[in-house]
């Protein structure tokens, strides 16, 4: 048994992404229609050209009808899927495999989520009936478990740890401030971030990703067909997914300073893409910064920083827009917002802009324009530390 990957077999030839935010005036149908038609226009195709659809949404609809009805699809296949916060990436992964298999010529991966209609703070979701013993702590609380564990392991005092987390939020807000599609488009002072009301553990409200509405979509074709639609397509170099055994909360050897699922999915993706030194080979990364300690740990799990040194790199600006390896140049979940089903495709949308040199000058990353790097990475995570699903993709602007 072996995983072979689909390196350079499938290409993205068009993408669409709505603004993310509190869309009180827009429905799920509206956002799907906008993202799909933006993607058609981007690829220069019509809806009739698309042979099949993969729709990712965690809770904004069930079945393919969630898409086929608003788009008035002509009896085409629609797969609706869910994989927690990695849902959008999962739609993309399965759509790509359908093209690679030869089953279809052109497909769409689309993700959507409408979170702001619930009236609740943070994420909510229906659970199956249970015995009542499952943990009921919230998402920020589960990810906040990383902070004291990391600080304890690497000898950071609580104030230093808070500074590190604050800088990550500050950086992502700064990136989002330059991005018209982001939910939060303002720089936020470090004092404001550090002084914000506590939500869970050391995490304040500014350590948490934006709860928002939004949709994003991609049109995929076989790589050899890509130039029919697009002068500068993005090629899929790697797609990997790891669903963990969820033993973090059972296994005393797990120390809450890593996501084993991320390490596994990154290792697999680098193998598929032929990457040996991600820190130097990758131009940019969009990672799942659902909460600030997540981004810190991801820098080490993805191989961007050595174990125990991620916090120093974050403080030194390594992952800033103009750093060695820009991370979340579009603002990330933190300031772009996190409409669950859409986020994985939103990350790819930033690769689509940056690697093809189409980001506005004020936020175009120099690693592409000046250093000529061609690879982007997206990382999407679902679940919680110790019990997660993790997706990693590598895309590139050149074949080979």
């Amino acid at each position: 048994m072996s995983s072979h990957g689909i390196r350079d077999k499938v290409a993205i030839v068009g993408m669409g992404c709505t603004q993310f935010g509190e869309h009180w005036d827009r429905s799920v149908d509206d956002m799907l229609t906008d993202a799909a038609h933006d993607a058609y226009a981007s690829a220069g195709v019509t809806q009739d050209d698309i042979d099949a659809f993969w729709l990712g949404t965690m809770g904004s609809g069930v079945s393919g009808l969630t898409l086929s009805k608003p788009l008035q699809l002509d009896y085409k296949p629609v797969t609706r899927l869910e994989n927690m916060c990695a849902t959008g990436s999962e739609a993309f992964r399965n759509a790509a495999y359908a093209v690679a298999s030869g089953a279809y010529d052109m497909v769409m991966a689309i993700g959507v989520e409408k979170l702001k209609d619930s009236g609740y703070s943070g994420l909510t979701g229906a659970r199956p009936p249970s015995d009542g013993t499952d943990s009921t702590i919230t998402a920020p609380a589960t990810f906040s478990l990383l902070a004291p564990a990391y600080a304890h392991k690497y000898g950071l005092d609580p104030d230093t740890m808070k500074e590190v987390l604050t800088r990550i939020a500050w950086k992502n807000h700064r990136n989002g401030a330059l991005n018209p599609r982001a939910q939060f488009r303002k720089e936020v002072a470090k004092e404001t971030i550090a002084g914000s009301p506590l939500i869970a553990g050391p995490l304040g409200i500014f350590d948490c990703s934006g709860v928002s509405d939004g949709s994003a979509a991609a049109v995929l074709v076989r790589a050899e067909d890509a130039h029919k639609y697009c002068d500068n397509p993005l090629y899929i170099k790697a797609l990997s997914f790891a669903s963990g055994p969820a033993t973090g909360a059972l296994d005393s050897t797990y120390d809450y300073t890593t996501f084993r699922e991320v390490v596994a999915s990154a290792t697999e993706a680098y193998k598929q893409a032929g990457i040996t030194d991600p820190r130097s080979q990758i131009a940019m990364a969009e990672v799942h910064d659902c909460f600030t300690p997540t981004e810190l740990v991801l820098m080490e799990d993805l191989g961007f920083a050595e174990r125990g040194l991620g916090w120093k790199e974050a403080m030194a600006g390594t992952f800033d827009l103009d750093g060695d390896l820009p991370v979340n140049p579009d603002g990330g979940l933190k300031s772009f917002g996190h409409p669950i089903g859409a986020s994985g495709l939103r990350m790819l949308f930033e690769c689509w802009l940056q690697l093809r040199g189409q980001a506005p000058p004020e936020r175009q990353i120099p690693s592409v324009t000046e250093q000529g790097k061609t690879l982007g990475l997206t990382h999407n995570l679902g679940g919680q530390p110790g019990a997660a699903v993790s997706f990693v993709s590598v895309v590139g602007s050149e074949l080979g």
């Binding site: 009936p129 249970s130 015995d131 013993t133 059972l250």
Partner: protein
Amino acid sequence: MGRGIIAYGAYVPYWRLDRSRITAAMGAGGGRGHRAVASYDEDTTTMGVEAARNALRGSDIVPDSVLFSTANPAYMDKTNASAIHAALDLPQSTWAVDAGGAPRSSEAIWALAAANRGTNLAVASDLRTGRPTSGDEAGGGDGAAAFVFGDDAVSPVLCEWLGGAVATAEFTDRYRQPGDAYSRIWEERFGEQVYLPLANDAIERALADAGVGLDGIDKIAIVGLHARAVRGLSRVAGDKLVGDLTGDIGNTGTAHAAIVLAAVLDEAVPGETILLVHLADGATADVLRTTDAIADHAPYAPVRAQIDRGNDALDYNKFLTWRGFLDREPPRRPDPERPGAPPAFRSEDWKYAFVGSRDRSSGAIHLPPMRVSMEGSAVDDMERVRMADVPATIATFTVDRLAFSLSPPMVAVVIDYDGGGRFQAEMTDVDPDEVRIGDRVEMTFRRLYSAEGIHNYFWKARPAAS
């Protein structure tokens, strides 16, 4: 073959309300001293479990029955003793039954536990409420006690029953209709004058029944919710009177006679003769005597130690919130969901007894229990392992200020058990600012929340007592 009390344990919850806080807040009520307060996640069932655990800890006694009495049952029309039975991981063949109603009902489980053959666990528990500024509010207390009656052959008898008597009368002293949040009380002087003759009659006949004169009594304990009658009767006891703990923990109603007796036994020497008088809709007097075995008995959680460990930092407004007298704005989060009866039934060992599974080949402990091992590839090669009494250490933690909680914020800890096994638990009876990696914890049976009429019982971590 001797028969009597072979084990006992009390439970006094961690929190105390300083009665002066009532006076300060309301300009009335309150008084001096403290009352014990069941936390927001405790009820008479969970306190009963803790008392029974304290009674049985370190022994291999397996009761043939669990007899439960309370004036404040968690459920009506559903047995509460069965949850205690489950939490103690007792066999299916052990009987579990409630004796509900007024505090006098506790006498029924004592009598049944003593008289029925076999080993019988009698658990009395109460959670006392009162309208703000009322005497019941300040004078009440929450707690539980458990006594095991059995034969010397099972475990050495610590205390024997020598004799007793009752006096019964119908009169309206205190009363509460089902569903009411508090009791009402008739004018105090009336009750005092009804109780005193009843008590004197019961005491006289009890001494005769036991064949002991008042001179032969070493200690006298007088217990009852009618404080004025208890005081009046106490005057004749002289220096044999033992403290009734109401200044420290309040009057725990149904549980109080048992808690006071536990406190007496904690400090008793062999051959002590005790007169226990219970005033509750009549009077009951019992004469007991400690055996030589009491000298070797080291209580797991002495009442005095539990009293001393109490925390009186509890605000009055929090106390009112916990008891449902203040309705606080919930977080903007969905209400918790009721546990499903079939899943809870399937996982009774886990949910109630905190039993996980241990892989026979690798030794890996799984909490909750699993069929497939996380180490190696063993399938269905697990043995049950009860973790309720295993201490643990905090590996990491958080304070969740967003989660739904009856008393936010929610403290969550990842804990590693001595000898293996890990679990992510809620933590209770703790100041959120005081939690640290490396702190020692132990498990406690609690009510997580109630939803749609179902109480969700499960285990939490609390700071280790020692």
